[in-house]
Subunit: 222 residues, 2 copies
DNA sequence: AATAATTTTTAGATTTGTCTAAAATAATTT
DNA sequence: AAATTATTTTAGACAAATCTAAAAATTATT
């Protein structure tokens, strides 16, 4: 089934809110979407008629099974595009959201399947959020900053906490990017610095400060 | 200035039609866009009020300077996305049009600039159509099928005339893709077969029939 | 429990883009 | 040149998505 851009935006927002509370109320959705309560009510009727939500007047609402599946499909598209924009086009992670907001509504399953493959089936987006798989399952991967990765264990770089010019310069220099496979060879208690190895590159050393700002997830977890 | 998806589609269609005839008439645009003449008239009023077209009632219309610039920006986006879909995601060129139709309306200049760079500033899309540059200039590059490329002259593969499984298998095998730099070392009059060299690969031989279906453009032209 | 305050819904209007049917204009034919 | 035909525009309606203002329902307060 196909949904309009507006419907998709509502679905996504409801999904986001119901994560925190059990049932969502009209006003909070209106605030979250920067619109009026009346507009929300109108859309709720439509989403109900399309069987995406449970909704009782004056009571509250939530996505049903079908609605949740749809939300996850949209979130998957959004996060894959964000990953693309950062890793392939070199945009900063704090700039990609509004563009992914537009790209996520392009509705071709084949496109998304190919994009996913092209990007190497990433599990975590550049903000560190998990990317639902094609079945709508959210990977549960714990991320740790590089200084907390046990030595000899490899991790995949999922995100970096700042994308200042200075930080990016250093990461580029060492060949560290999102998706890089990285292993801590040795950590020095003296100053917290780490000797690390990135696949197919010679070992190098980075400061503890740098390591605190690089996040990785466990390679092996299924 | 920002335009709606619908406005952009009209701009693009007018551009396409006025290429052939001098002024465009309401009915032909309606047919071209699969809509009614009345809808076209409505939109013409809006495009006129936004100063994109010259339009005199009952007479005809055409894009003005500003409208043409806008059309070329849209076409640029469309063709860059087509190039992306074919060269990066491996889609067939005869499948990419409807997806590019959606992607072309994503309106971020930074996105397009980066996409262009990422793709290597391509000049020709996978259908063999020129891609306007950032200033809206259409490159004028003559394309020839590989069997017509003079020996010792290098060309860039711009398109292939069929994307059957069999064709793609062969191209993959030889490492020939859109954007490949290719040189004819020797052509054999006996059967039309060609010995060719693709940059960074050993020389190989392809049949005359294959060569007729591979199009290249002149490397050197500015 | 009655009143006040808050939240949600309805009623009706607006904007964008579309449509059909009818009127206006232009082009063709006799 | 008058009549017929074709094209284009207008008038009025409709669907989607939004809004404001008022009414209805719920929740909180005295």
């Amino acid at each position: 089934m196909k949904f309009s851009t507006s419907e998709e935006n509502y679905i996504k927002s409801i999904y986001g809110l119901q994560g925190k509370t059990e049932k969502v109320n009209t006003n909070s959705l209106a605030v979250h979407m920067n619109t009026r309560a009346a507009s929300v009510t109108d859309m709720l009727k439509k989403l109900k008629s399309k069987k995406l939500i449970e909704y009782k007047k004056y009571y509250g609402f939530r996505l049903n099974e079908f609605g949740n599946r749809e939300a996850l499909r949209i979130i998957r598209r959004h996060r894959l595009w964000e990953f693309f924009l950062v890793t392939k086009l070199g945009m900063n992670w704090d700039k990609v959201h509004p563009i992914a907001e537009e790209l996520e509504h392009v509705s071709s399953n084949d496109l998304i399947k190919r994009l996913d493959n092209y990007l190497g089936q990433p599990k975590i987006d550049p903000h560190g959020d998990p990317i639902p798989d094609a079945q709508g399952k959210m990977p549960v991967l714990k991320q740790v900053s590089l200084d907390n990765l046990p030595p000899k264990k490899t991790g995949i770089v999922s995100s970096v906490s700042s994308q200042t010019h200075q930080m990016m310069e250093m990461l580029n220099h060492y060949g560290i990017g999102i998706g890089s496979q990285i292993k801590v060879l040795k950590s020095f208690d003296f100053d917290g610095s780490l000797q690390i190895k990135i696949s197919k590159q010679p070992a190098c050393t980075i400061s503890g400060q740098a390591a605190q700002n690089i996040f990785v997830y466990d390679d092996q977890e299924k």
